[in-house]
Symmetry: D2
Subunit: 298 residues, 4 copies
């Protein structure tokens, strides 16, 4: 099998490597001349046997939109585009419809595993028709870990369902990380606990909370004891927000995942307006002292 | 009526003023020579007619404990001590038992109204026996706003019940302030809102959210537009914590009040260990960039 | 002044009453023949002097959309439509644009005060141009409580800003109600509190938590002691959801308001799937007993 | 090595089995005649070589208190008691002091692994002196999974530290389970997701959220598709509460873990008083319909 892969960043680069190791021929395209196999999308399309299969692995939103639009102009009826990025599930139907106007087929596929996927394989959640899924199955089988297919690949539903499942996966991930992190802070705060790193390390085998994230947590503490080199500042990349929005849209209480999202927002605030207001109110009714605002650094 | 009042801080000083205005004779004692009417507790006790009534208005915990212990040694059977501070309700039974060993009676009374109580009167929540409540009623009537007694005074239950109600009152207060503050931050964040101060001001009459705290919020914004002089750093003084502990002890979900408490904790953190850990985990699995920790200022 | 008012439900009916009391001539239109003043929108439009001013007070979403569309076809350049309902702020620009195509002007106005507004007056938050605001000012002045205009009316910003402010107002309202409600549940749960109704009643004057909602809470407990007639089942009508969505979109932590929203969702669930899963997990790892699902009533 | 083990319930019974498999001689005592090896504590003590080592594996609180008291009367100087139950960390110092009066030594050891520990081994967190830890090490090595000791055993600190770490472990566990459960409910709620069970199954290998709890979740869905047999009613056994109390006592924001705890409380409520109040308030100000309370079943 010979496929195209657009986007050779942290994820796409590793995926090209794994696919090739597993015997799939891959022509990769990236804007970076150092990484790309071909100088243009046109040449990528020209290099592939028909029906062409092209895996798109670029940032969600405008960049994915643009790539899909370009592909809709370059591909031929019967070709298949797979969006493996972190697109919002509502984008998938738009992309599928655009491509379908040219007879081009579409699958969305959530991909989990991070930078470790090259070695470990990726967990995959796909949306689309059964026929298209079958066409792409050799790719899925190459990307996922060896072993039972059902433990690392799922056909979640029609177009959009794969990214929906990936979105929820990431929402859960927010909650899991926040839970470990709250426990970490509490262990660090309590003086009778003399060995926080050792405690997490000892949870790796046997305990109810053992997980891959826990293993990474232990690794992080080993590399940077006390996390002294890292600020308590956490970005978010969209899927946590969408998960909470979907929870709201479906009347599903999601307090733990939402707590994780808001904790990230708060981590990025120097001086939260809300908390200025609470301080101001306490001062107003009770005469409680306030901390003066710091002058902004020049 | 002639009573003693121990503690002439922000609250006690104003309360002495209001009691005197309402015709109650008050002998006040405070460690500060500028404020006290008598030089010692002994002279305070000596100055009062029997049965003596002494209102204690000092910080909860060790200081209240010490004052009650001193009074247990100075007072006589039939005297009455009223703890008007923010004591934890579990302290009340201890204090009552200690005093009862000398035949001294005890009431606990939660007092709300802050620095405005001098002028507006205070809301009062008392715990103790009906007989003791009746003895102290002229004091309660002087402290509370004029009008229906039932709108500003309640006999909540036996000893401890007054402070329990005050604790819940303060827990609610946390939630109310946090709710307004979140709305404030959102209005500030949204560029189509051109007049945040004016919006809160316009909520003072007619709307569902009108309240005394809202009036103070408007006043705070008037005095310090944009709250530019105040840091987003909020202390807490115990009653919010106790409310959540009691919610847990009674299996009562209290997510809004707890959110308010945790927001205060977070407001006091420069660099939360939990968020360092979430950043570290994102870096581990996804290679996401982290923000380096800032060197501590010397 | 003579205006049209479309929608004579709980809010619109009272508003017509208040406007007439204050000397504004109102022709009302409603689908209900018992309430309407004219049999059709066409007759409503025909009855008004130009430039016509029409206040729309119908349910947000499709019904408001339909009314605005109808008006865009019936009105003339220079006429003014005011949407006083609870429309989402993003709808306002759509409505304004549609009307502007016919030269018809548009204001959005959030209205708070509920069924009590007839007597107390309403709090008003308006969005639109200064010129249009001035045209409608006699209406605003009639609807709002007497006294300082700035305490009950605000021109928040351009089109959409009025409904945005109202949305945030309602989000705050969610948090306030949840805070009081959590305190209520805790007071009810604690046996040393003998007079829950009396405690809330005593908070009405003097305390920091006094508010109009508190007064209503006392009234509710008076009418139905222990709230024995009412189920713990709470609907939500959109603005709480939008507030949280906007908090997320603007990276504003809003944990208390969100807690209030999720508590409503949970109140409507008999048997939450999430909690079934937690029970299932505890059973899996710890052999903890589970409660069997109840057979559904036929 | 020959030790005593008190408590042969779900955990203790399996632990006796694992210890014996690993070559530790165990004399077990339980109130149940079917399970016990000896008829009385006295005979248990008499059967052991000195210095005696006795592992206590009974419910936390009064039962553990009673067992420790009994042991303090039966044991001799130099003997060692290990509390492997889920005692509150504050109990440990009390137990250690009581035993120390007789020269008896004490370790606390948190044990994780549930009913699967027999086969998989247990994760262990111990508190006490280095000397006592070393004495008990053959037991720890037998109980924990094979492999690196540091991945399944930790000496956390002095007496109490082991149970503290176990408490935090369980708090984290609450957050992890709640996070998966929220994701589960959202996937179930969304109609484009056609295979919820398959989705979780596909997360077992390769994804960032893979964990032992996830494997159990898949197993639970396999055994009871849709969890139709299980009610959304979740007990809690103390350690989640203590974790939140400790978070509060140490000013550590713990919103995700607390959300998990409150979700359990709410899962056990038919008709939450707080939500009755919110419904009542909405009815008061807006005339919103309420759902009447259901008559209680006889």
């Amino acid at each position: 099998m010979h496929i195209g892969l657009i986007g050779l960043g942290k994820m796409g680069f590793n995926m090209r490597g794994r696919l090739r190791e597993k015997g799939i021929e891959v022509t990769g395209f990236d804007r970076s001349p150092d990484r790309t196999d071909v100088p243009s999308l046109e040449e990528l399309v020209g290099a592939l046997p028909t029906p062409r299969i092209i895996w798109v692995m670029v940032p969600a939103g405008q960049i994915t939109d643009a790539v899909v639009k370009d592909l809709s102009e370059l591909l031929s009826p019967g070709d298949l585009v797979i969006d493996g990025g972190n697109s919002k599930f509502t984008d998938d139907q738009i992309h599928a419809t655009l491509l379908a106007q040219k007879g081009v087929r579409f699958l969305d596929c959530g991909v989990s595993g991070g930078v470790w996927g090259l070695e470990n394989g990726y967990g995959l959640m796909a949306g689309g028709t059964q026929e298209d899924i079958e066409l792409a199955m050799p790719i899925f089988d190459a990307l996922r870990p060896e072993g039972e297919r059902s433990e690392s690949f799922v056909h979640v539903g029609d177009v959009g369902a794969g990214h929906y499942a990936k979105m929820v996966h990431n929402g859960i991930e927010y909650g899991l990380m926040q839970s470990y992190a709250e426990g970490y802070e509490l262990l660090e705060a309590k003086d009778i606990v003399k060995d926080v790193h050792g405690t997490f390390a000892a949870w790796q085998k046997g305990t109810v909370v053992r997980s891959w994230l826990l293993d990474l947590l232990v690794k992080a503490l080993q590399e940077d004891p006390g996390l002294s080199k890292i600020a308590g500042y956490v970005e978010d990349s969209g899927e946590g927000r969408w998960t909470v929005e979907e929870a709201i849209a479906n009347s599903v209480p999601a307090p733990a995942i939402t707590a994780a999202l808001f904790a990230r927002f708060a981590s990025r605030q120097d001086d939260a307006p809300a908390m200025k207001m609470v301080a101001a109110l306490r001062n107003q009714f009770g005469g409680h002292a306030v901390k003066p605002a710091q002058p902004k650094a020049e």
